[in-house]
């Protein structure tokens, strides 16, 4: 197993939807991969996101509107990823990296909070006969446990990740084509429902801001995307305002509806601009 340099500030840069995505990006960044190429398949329309949360009434933690980054990395043979249910923590040193699933009880006791999902993982940084060091993405933490403590915290599942290949020029071309196709295909559009669920509203914005930042970071390798910055900052601000309304119990759905309507118009212009510039240069 490869030891990992611990630098929790790396997580600041990642646009991830899950802990596994965070750890994958951590692994790739410590191995000097330009992981932003994996963001290529992150476009989904504003109305699709709204449909997921307000028509289908699904949850943030299981968002499946775009493929997970580990699925993309696996599909393009950048990594081999395998998950196991194993009662004992069976680390085969021939393999590169391990994610260990932790018990919700341990997480709550250690960090004083509950995770989004029951299946939360940590990244094993290094271990020996007596000490196990892991990295947690949220809250950011690096912690060393003895073997018995680790066994107590462990929830019986592992994910193993092996690095197979760098991101080759051919992969980059395929990903670019995938991006262009995703931006141009005529997908079904959904009518934007009225917002009636403050948590769904917040989570819809959470997904939107992450996915639009991914588009920004991906496209910035090809074109100047400065025109996106104000919009991205506004997404962050509206996300915060909605959460503030929720915490203060001052929910104003009419205001939120107007907010989403305005954001949708801005989003549409931004996406059109991105699509235009990318197609002009690379289509």
């Amino acid at each position: 197993m490869k030891n990992i340099d611990v630098d929790l500030s790396r997580f600041n840069s990642f646009q991830s939807l899950s802990c596994v995505e965070s750890y994958l990006l951590y692994i790739l960044s410590t191995n000097n991969y330009d992981y932003r190429y994996l963001y290529a398949l992150s476009y989904v329309s504003f109305s699709e996101i709204m449909n997921y949360f307000f028509n289908e009434r699904k949850r943030f933690e299981y968002y499946n509107g775009v493929p997970r980054l580990q699925q993309i990395a696996s599909k393009y043979n950048i990594i081999l990823i395998k998950d196991f249910d194993k009662l004992s923590i069976n680390i085969d040193s021939k393999h590169d990296y391990y994610l260990l699933r932790l018990c919700p009880e341990y997480i709550e006791e250690t960090y004083g909070e509950v995770t989004w999902r029951d299946d939360h993982y940590v990244l094993l940084a290094n271990y020996n006969d007596s000490m196990w060091t892991y990295i947690n993405d949220d809250p950011r933490d690096c912690r060393t446990l003895n073997y018995n403590e680790m066994l107590t915290a462990y929830a019986g599942s592992l994910i193993r990740i092996d690095l197979v290949s760098g991101i080759t020029d051919k992969m980059k071309d395929l990903l670019l084509q995938g991006f262009l196709d995703s931006m141009s295909e005529n997908k079904k559009t959904f009518s934007i429902p009225s917002v009636d669920d403050i948590i769904a509203a917040r989570n819809a914005l959470a997904v939107l801001r992450i996915l639009r930042r991914r588009i920004y970071e991906y496209c910035f390798q090809f074109i100047c995307c400065d025109f996106m910055v104000d919009y991205l900052n506004e997404l962050d601000k509206q996300f915060s305002l909605i959460e503030y309304m929720r915490l203060r119990n001052r929910v104003n759905y009419s205001k939120i509806d107007n907010m989403f309507s305005t954001l949708q118009q801005k989003d549409s212009k931004i996406i059109e601009a991105i699509n235009g510039k990318m197609c002009e240069n690379y289509g």
Binding site: N12, R140, A206, N233, D236, K237, S240, Y244, L247
Partner: protein, 86 residues
């Protein structure tokens, strides 16, 4: 001197509130820390805003609640002091 002590007291009180939202204790938090480095993500940032409002009986204006401007502990301290000094 007295004004300097009072300023430090306010800073300390604000950091105490920050530590109530962060997994870190107030002794481990400094003005220079970025919020992300002390376990305060975008959701916790809003929780922190509400906690500071409640702790000091202030109400921030929407215009001041720009996450882009609230990146570090000192950003929050400055914002809170702006309202406390009114």
């Amino acid at each position: 001197m007295e004004r300097c002590v009072k300023t430090m007291d306010k800073e300390y009180e604000i950091i105490k509130v920050i530590s109530s939202v962060s997994p870190f204790s107030d002794e481990d938090i400094s003005l220079e820390d970025e919020l992300a480095s002390i376990g305060i993500d975008s959701l916790k940032k809003v929780e922190l805003i509400v906690a500071i409002e409640d702790a000091f009986s202030i109400v921030f204006e929407d215009a001041d609640l720009d996450p882009v401007q609230l990146v570090s502990v000192s950003d929050f301290v400055k914002l809170a002091e702006k309202y406390l000094n009114r």
